[in-house]
């Protein structure tokens, strides 16, 4: 058995012992209440028993009350309920106990009072007086006997007294006759007790009586409940100055009168003692009863504490369990101590917790499934090249994948929960996207599909966009999912493919007839020029010359187309771009009104992996285009510069201070046959763009602030280890382009 068990057993044993003690005290009290002597003997035991019981119970109750007060102050669960129940117990226990105590005290006092009766007391007093009267007669007789003995003694010599006294004693029936001289000096004595060495000395008050009347008689108690009469007579001195003799006789009060007198005396005395002890007896009874009732009250109080504790303990356990569950601890299991309704409640609580736990596990599992599916969806969305944005009904971003951010050049993942319009204030592409969405939303609602055009630094970006409504939420509003794809490259590729097809067809359909046309024109000229007169000859000459010239022009145009359409494999090599720029620029010296090419080369601009022939063509096209734009104007200037862009790419810029580009055609300047010049094929910049894109670069044209135009070519930088710039150092734009 552990310490707790021992403690519990000891506590219960103490309580049982206290209750048994109290009960036994009550029984003893009941048994002894009719007998004061027995009560007197057991009184101390009763007090001791009750005192011990009261002290034990007080200790137990104090300990429990201390714990209760401590729990109450600490606001412990169940303390208030325990206090209220205890108060109810105490109230229920006090009322009957007080009533029982009051009536028990009444009963005891009346019971004790019933022992005494005025008539009995009076009777006993009368009996005592009667006894006294009867004994008075006897006393007078004994005094007379003594007087007669004294008369006979008077005049006898002391030496003869001893023999005379014996006869006189026997005659008088005395136990003892003694003759005293002055100062109670024994002169002679005679006694019936052979063991007595000395006669009974005269009492102090005898001399007073003798002096007053010469006689003394008294009734005295003797041993063994008997009485004796002491009678004395003084003899007159025979001569002046002679000694006064006193004759004392002791007479037994025997026979019936002595026994009756003793009985009366004992009864009277016993009654007086009882009457005297009545109040102390009642007080003692009251005290003992009070102690017994106090013990009962304390036992009831402890019982109240005990049962309250037992009743509240499961509730406390229940409260603690509830709090634990409120904290999220669903592993709590409450012990079922009883098999009553409270036990059923705890059992139900345990079952509820179990079900709750199972439900939570199921919910957690479901949530986990949802999370996994969400993660899978997020992974799928992340891998999608299609941008996906889910918007709540209030236009805030519920979810957006990485592709959407890349397409719109914004960190949409970080903006989840925020309105898309908020991001539009910072990101121009998003602003255009939102504006486009709003226009279509106003027109077509949530369900629509359309193509959007967004302006970027690198040109137009074409998006194919579709919107679908999400299910209606609890407020009745619906969000939407916007799926969009950047088809800029696709459109461009389709356009390039179309132009290539056109070029091939032109080369095939136009170039072939050109030679017969030219040959036919030259043949006509040779044959008929000399045969015609001067006027006709001049017309013929001019016409054939025009035909040949236009055929040549058409051939050049067809060749240019062929060149544009041709797409042989790149022969990449490490090219020093600065060196290539210098070489090409040497071919354009300052002459015929053309300015010299100004170079601003960044020595740090790295090498690029490029097809040197095509890069040379790019440079030629750009420089020639710039020179053509100047159109031999005064102060014209063409600048070729190289640098490292912020993204780490090599940037080649060919700029001029010419009239600049028409803003309306700026976006389409790299398309075939889009030109602002009066001469040229209109394919120069288209070829440049094609070649640059073949090198995984980008090209952008813009009007400079000081007037003129600038073409920016960005090429991936060739790294020392032979690789191109890694993806991390690239801009989102390039990564997206690669991605696409």
């Amino acid at each position: 058995m552990d310490y707790k068990g021992l403690k519990k057993l000891a506590g219960r044993s103490l309580v049982v012992a206290a209750v048994l003690l109290g009960a036994s005290a009550l029984v003893l009290l009941g048994l002894t209440s009719q007998d004061s002597e027995q009560f007197g003997r057991t009184h101390d035991l009763l007090l001791l028993i009750n005192g011990i019981g009261a002290v034990v119970l007080l200790l137990l109750i104090s300990s429990n009350l201390y714990r209760l007060v401590r729990d109450f102050r600490a606001g412990k669960a169940g303390a208030r309920l325990k206090t209220r129940m205890l108060l109810a117990f105490v109230t229920l226990a006090v009322a009957p106990l007080v009533i029982v105590w009051y009536f028990a005290v009444q009963f005891l006092n009346q019971g004790i009072d019933s022992w005494f009766d005025v008539r009995v007391e009076q009777g006993l007093g009368d009996a005592l007086e009667l006894s006294r009267s009867a004994l008075d007669v006897r006393m007078r007789e004994d005094l007379e006997k003594t007087r007669l003995a004294a008369v006979q003694i008077d005049g006898i010599r002391p030496m003869q007294l001893v023999s005379v006294l014996g006869d006189l004693r026997r005659e008088a029936g005395a136990m003892e006759i003694t003759v005293f001289g002055d100062g109670s000096r024994i002169i002679a004595t005679s006694t019936s007790d052979p063991a007595a060495l000395f006669p009974s000395p005269p009492p102090d008050d005898m001399s007073i009586g003798l002096r007053r009347s010469g006689r003394y008689v008294s009734l005295e108690p003797a041993l063994a409940g008997r009485y004796q009469v002491r009678a004395a007579v003084s003899l007159r001195p025979r001569a002046p100055g002679a000694e006064t003799l006193v004759v004392q006789g002791l007479y037994p009060v025997g026979g019936r009168i002595g026994i009756l007198a003793d009985s009366v005396e004992q009864s009277y005395r016993r009654y007086r003692e009882l009457a005297f002890l009545r109040e102390p007896l009642q007080s003692s009874f009251t005290i003992t009863l009070t102690l017994v009732v106090l013990c009962c009250f304390l036992a009831a109080l402890y019982g109240g504490v005990f049962f309250t504790r037992r009743l509240v303990a499961p509730l406390q356990s229940l409260v603690a369990g509830t709090q634990a569950v409120a904290r999220g601890d669903l592993d709590t299991r409450l012990p079922i101590a009883t098999h009553d309704e409270v036990g059923f409640l705890i059992d139900s609580f345990n079952e509820m917790i179990l079900r709750l736990k199972n439900a939570r596990e199921a919910a957690r599992w479901s949530q986990q499934q949802v999370e996994e599916e969400r993660a899978q969806l997020a992974a799928i969305l992340a891998r999608l090249t299609t941008g996906v944005i889910a918007l709540e009904s209030d236009r805030s971003i519920r979810i957006a994948n990485e592709a959407a951010g890349l397409i719109l050049d914004a960190d949409l993942a970080r903006s989840e929960g925020h309105p898309l319009e908020e991001l539009a204030e910072q990101r121009p592409l998003v602003a255009q996207f939102v504006a486009a969405l709003r226009v279509r939303g106003e027109k077509k609602g949530h369900e629509w599909r359309d193509e959007l055009e967004l302006r970027t630094d690198t040109g137009r970006r074409t998006l194919v966009c579709a919107s679908t409504a999400l299910p209606v939420d609890e407020t009745g509003a619906a969000g939407e999912v916007i799926v969009f794809d950047d088809v800029t490259n696709l459109v461009r590729a389709q356009r390039d493919a179309a132009w290539g097809e056109v070029a091939r067809r032109l080369a095939h359909e136009i170039k072939n007839p050109l030679t017969p046309i030219q040959l036919s024109a030259e043949r006509i000229r040779r044959r008929f020029l000399k045969k015609l007169d001067a006027v006709d000859a001049e017309v013929l000459d001019r016409a054939t010359h025009t035909i040949v010239q236009q055929v040549e022009a058409m051939r050049d145009m067809v060749n240019a187309f062929s060149e544009y359409a041709r797409a042989p494999a790149l022969s990449l090599a490490v090219v020093d771009l600065n060196q290539l720029v210098r070489e090409v620029s040497y071919l354009y010296p300052a002459r015929d009104g053309h300015p010299a090419i100004e170079l601003e080369l960044d020595q740090g601009a790295g090498e690029v992996a490029a097809d040197v022939v095509r890069m040379r063509q790019v440079l030629h096209n750009l420089i020639r285009n710039a020179l053509d734009a100047l159109d031999s104007r005064e102060g014209g200037r063409v600048t070729v510069s190289t640098s490292i862009s912020a993204a780490g790419d090599v940037e080649l810029v060919v700029s001029d201070n010419g009239p600049g580009l028409d803003p309306d055609t700026l976006d389409k300047i790299f398309e075939p046959y889009v030109t602002t010049k009066s001469k040229g094929t209109g394919l120069g910049l288209a070829i440049v763009k094609k070649l640059v894109e073949e090198h995984r670069g980008s090209v952008v044209a813009e009007n400079t602030e000081g007037g003129g135009a600038a073409v920016h070519v960005r090429l991936p930088r060739h790294q020392i280890d032979g690789t191109e710039t890694d993806n991390n150092s690239r801009t989102k734009d390039e990564r997206w382009r690669e991605h696409a």
Binding site: S36, E37, F39, G40, R41, T42, H43, D44, L47, V105, Q106, N109, Q110, D113, S114, F116, D117, V118, L128, S131, R132, L135, P203, D204, D205, S218, L219, E220, P221, L223, Y227, A261, V264, E265, Y268, R269, R270, R272, E273, A275, F276, L277, E279, P280, L281, Q282, S283, S284, T286, I287, T290, L291, L294
Partner: protein
């Protein structure tokens, strides 16, 4: 002798009140004004035939409560306690011998006399007045205490005596009252003296 209900209630209340008072004052020593006293006036030991005899004079004055009890038939027991102590230098004094003489004092209503009885010897004497009885009780003449041979001749010995009203022999109901009441708490101080040869 049946009281009315109201009277009974008052009577009960009158009896309960001291009981409650006693309970409330449980454990507290209440000092009532003592109207009785026991006092050993003088005492001395004399050596006769190698036996120490004690002569003493004791004043007995009973309290009103004790007198009331005596007159109502209660027997009072008076204990006379004598101790022989050997003095020691650095140790507590040693108790060599102790003697207790019990005497009862009672009142005989039939004879209207006070009876003094020595429990030890069984001798008894009756007196017409309480004064005579107490005077007789207060005279101790030649009470043999200890043989001189039992004492260490080299050591110093002391004797001391006192008289006490024995509460244990009082009737049971009275003992509870006697426990709280100074009227029955009658005892003299110890009266001591050095034994000289």
């Amino acid at each position: 002798m049946h009281a009315t209900h109201n009277g009974c209630f008052h009577q009960t209340a009158r009896r309960i009140a001291p009981a409650w008072a006693l309970l409330v004052l449980l454990g507290a020593s209440v000092a009532w004004a003592a109207d009785g006293s026991f006092q050993v006036r003088s005492a001395a030991a004399r050596l006769t035939d190698n036996v120490y005899f004690v002569d003493a004079r004791i004043d007995y004055e009973l309290s009103d409560k004790a007198l009331e009890a005596l007159d109502n038939g209660v027997v009072l027991t008076i204990q006379m306690q004598i101790e022989v102590i050997r003095k020691r230098a650095f140790l507590p004094d040693a108790l060599i011998a102790e003697l207790q003489q019990d005497s009862t004092l009672s009142y005989e209503p039939l004879t209207q006399r006070y009876v003094v009885r020595n429990i030890n010897s069984g001798l008894q004497a009756s007196y017409a007045t309480l004064f005579s009885a107490l005077s007789s009780l207060g005279r101790v003449n030649g009470l043999p205490v200890i043989d001189a041979a039992l004492l260490d001749a080299e050591a110093t010995h002391r004797m001391r005596m006192r008289v006490v009203l024995d509460q244990d022999t009082l009737p049971g109901p009275l003992r509870l009252i006697a426990f709280w009441s100074s009227g029955f708490r009658l005892a003299s101080d110890w009266y001591g003296w050095t034994i000289r040869d």
